[in-house]
Symmetry: C3
Subunit: 339 residues, 3 copies
């Protein structure tokens, strides 16, 4: 595969400082890029590599200060670079429509057109698989669960009964959707289970990373809305409601009945306690422990989490304790001497 810089400019909608005739034959990260390769600067941390890279051309932000043999200025270098990836590295094509002979599909299940059902997939009673769905090997679709059109379910996924999965959803391997919420009542002598009779409802264009667990609601639904993206190993407890276009990074957990409003970003290993609300557009920094509501648009951090500025000032304050002690000693000395 080969593209001239002139052709690339059109694909990424950029402006060139250099020569349109140069030919690009591959992509690479800036620290590894060689002659003939296109690279990008998406994180200022990597700007230092501009002086050592052998790349033929570099995608940079429009306001980038710096020069290079061939500099392509674009709105968003990450996005521009990502547009080039499938040109040079075509994705593994999805399999042709097929219902593998080893799949176990209940007679009462409804199957759409042009679907792929891989080896050893189990589809239970009255499940509905819409058109153009791909369900890979060893996955399980429970009774009365619906899988929306064009959704892709990777191998070894488990979706319990009576769940609703939207269209164009991507569910990675090891994910469990619809397991029982952690609902119990401790009595004097033992522990009684609260039946978990709700559902999981997942909107269109959602992506769920490997080995996530999403529990069904107790009575109502656990909801993940349109366009939200979950990284790996995330816990979503019963009755949680997540809005549209949120990001949740790996190993975070949202406890029962909490609400994450639209366009929230939650970094890795965050814990959100139960019955809370994280307001629209809020950002929760990595490893934070959120124990109270977060207002819309705020950035929080820490354990327990608080507004980021406060949390940072707190760290500065802690690190000033030796100074405080030194001053105290000085003062005590002065007082001692003045006696």
């Amino acid at each position: 595969m080969e593209f001239s810089l002139g052709q690339i400019l059109k694909i990424v909608d950029g402006t060139l400082e250099g020569d349109e005739a140069y030919i690009i034959t591959d992509l690479a990260e800036i620290q590894h890029a060689k002659k003939g390769q296109l690279t990008f600067l998406g994180n200022p941390k990597y700007n230092k590599y501009l002086s050592t890279t052998e790349a033929t051309a570099v995608l940079v932000p429009k306001d980038f200060k710096g020069s290079y043999e061939n500099l392509i200025r674009v709105e968003n270098p990450n996005l521009a670079f990502s547009l080039m990836i499938p040109r040079f590295r075509p994705e593994l094509p999805l399999p042709n429509p097929e219902i593998h002979k080893t799949a176990c599909i209940a007679n009462s299940a409804q199957l759409g057109e042009n679907i792929y059902i891989g080896p050893n997939v189990t589809i239970e009673d009255k499940a509905v698989i819409e058109n153009n769905v791909f369900i890979f090997a060893n996955s399980y679709i429970g009774t009365e669960t619906r899988i929306g059109s064009e959704t892709i379910i990777r191998p070894n996924v488990t979706i319990y009964h009576n769940c609703q999965i939207g269209s164009k959803v991507l569910i990675h391997s090891g994910v469990v959707v619809g397991s029982d919420g952690f609902g119990f009542v401790r009595t004097e002598k033992s522990i009684k289970k609260i039946p978990q009779a709700g559902r999981v409802v997942i909107g269109d264009d959602v992506e769920i990373g490997a080995n996530c667990s999403i529990d069904r609601g107790t009575l109502g639904d656990t909801v993940i809305s349109k366009g939200t993206k979950l990284d790996n190993l995330i816990q979503i407890a019963h009755n949680v409601k997540i809005g549209v276009y949120c990001f949740i990074a790996a190993q975070s957990g949202i406890a029962g009945s909490s609400t994450i409003e639209d366009r929230v970003t939650i970094a890795g290993q965050v814990g959100v306690a139960g019955h809370l609300k994280i307001g629209e557009g809020a950002i929760v920094a990595a490893q934070s422990g959120v124990s109270k509501d977060v207002p819309p648009g705020t950035i929080v951090f820490g354990y327990p989490a608080q507004e980021q500025k406060k949390a940072r000032r707190e760290i500065v304050n802690i690190r000033s304790i030796p100074d405080i002690k030194a001053k105290l000693k000085e003062i005590e000395k002065i007082i001692e001497e003045s006696k």
Copy 2:
């Protein structure tokens, strides 16, 4: 399905302030409840909704201060409400006894009566499946492992060889029981594996949430005792001993050889270091990092975890540093002036 409040009173063992003749046709959470529905107040945080809910009746604690059209006072509203859930929302029935034709069962395995073995289940040599067990699709039962009567194993569960699972246990999808403990010795040039030759022993009435990992013992057993409940994505390392009727919330991890005594509650994302003891009835707050023994009955919190009161006072102390600095400045000023 319909119940009069009079009928409901008998089921939940409550006293009514209202009219027994009202008919309830469904259940709902208090913020969503409509006419004809029964709801409950199990968490004071939701009391505010009593003024806006349209519910026909509300289950409340015996000593609840407040009034409503139909108020049902009970010992434990969560428990009472949970008794009503199966009346209005019957659970998906378990499948009829069957050994699916695609299951791969070793000749030397022993199968009890009235069991369900789903599609593509593998049962290895000399495994024992007691009566009335349900093993769903794609699960794996290793050599010489025993599954106690009435236990339910959801799809895509893996139980390694030589493990003991009690009766009436519920294991959710993605769980791995009996994988090797993380036992290695670092030598000068490489890392040597310590054979993991013990077992996992799980007591009766245990529930294990989706995608948990429970490692086998090195020599002795990893033990989870009767009635203990594990949420999702929990790590139980080799040789851990967990007592009866404990709660462990999602994404917590217990490192090797630690002992969790009876009736302990561990909140989410907690880490317990190795070779420790958490005493009977102790409570560990969310995201705590436990690095030393916890005495029975105490509540601990923080990183590193300490007795809750101390941990809270510490937070208050940290937040008083600006005051300390202000006072220091004042004193310095006074001293300066007095010179």
Copy 3:
């Protein structure tokens, strides 16, 4: 199985204070050991049990101060004891070579000699399975993925397309290798996925614990090098590079593009942010949140993580705030009185 202490001395390369004629019939942990059993002292925390154990002999470090009926001094008691485990507790033998009739293997896949492919395994197009490999039930090997010789893949493992797994690798159940990295660009109205076109490359002698997730690179590779050991439920994000002979304990997560150099030890529930470098031989204590590079050979701890001595001093400083306040009060009193 029986061994005299004389025979054991030769196996563990130790020196005996006691009588070579004693017969050992089993192994046990020191707190449970009975007559006829061999035990060990690998952690000083357990030294107290030396006065109560009924063990016939105890493996101890060469410089151990203390005496016992039969004391075997060795370089490393953990290692010595681990050499004895397979003598008394033979491991479950691996299955004989077989390709199970229910396995679904693409015609274009290449299969080596003496391999075991269990029930319901799926092997996709052009995958390569080298000699003496074991792939247990319900596992999935994607298109063009290569599994090196003598590697063992436990049940219910998923390895996506185009990944490279070395020789003598052990992958536990529930592991997902090669899922998409969490790469997205947030645009004004929605979120765009960055294609994840790289691979996962795993070196020889690596062990990966249950339910880990290892994402493929965006363009280049996610790499785990020779001899590194991962515990359970670990997240390895796209483009992470891990050196040789590292330990990573359970539930830790390494964010995108970070580099873990050789022989690093990462304890449990640690988070490492993206684009960082953890230097050779560094140690990261449990639950730390690493937000900047860690120099080689250093020990870090805390949230945010810092050099261990600093982190500890900080805790001491925080705990001294009440003293600071008391002194301040005293000084204020003196000043008040001197007015």
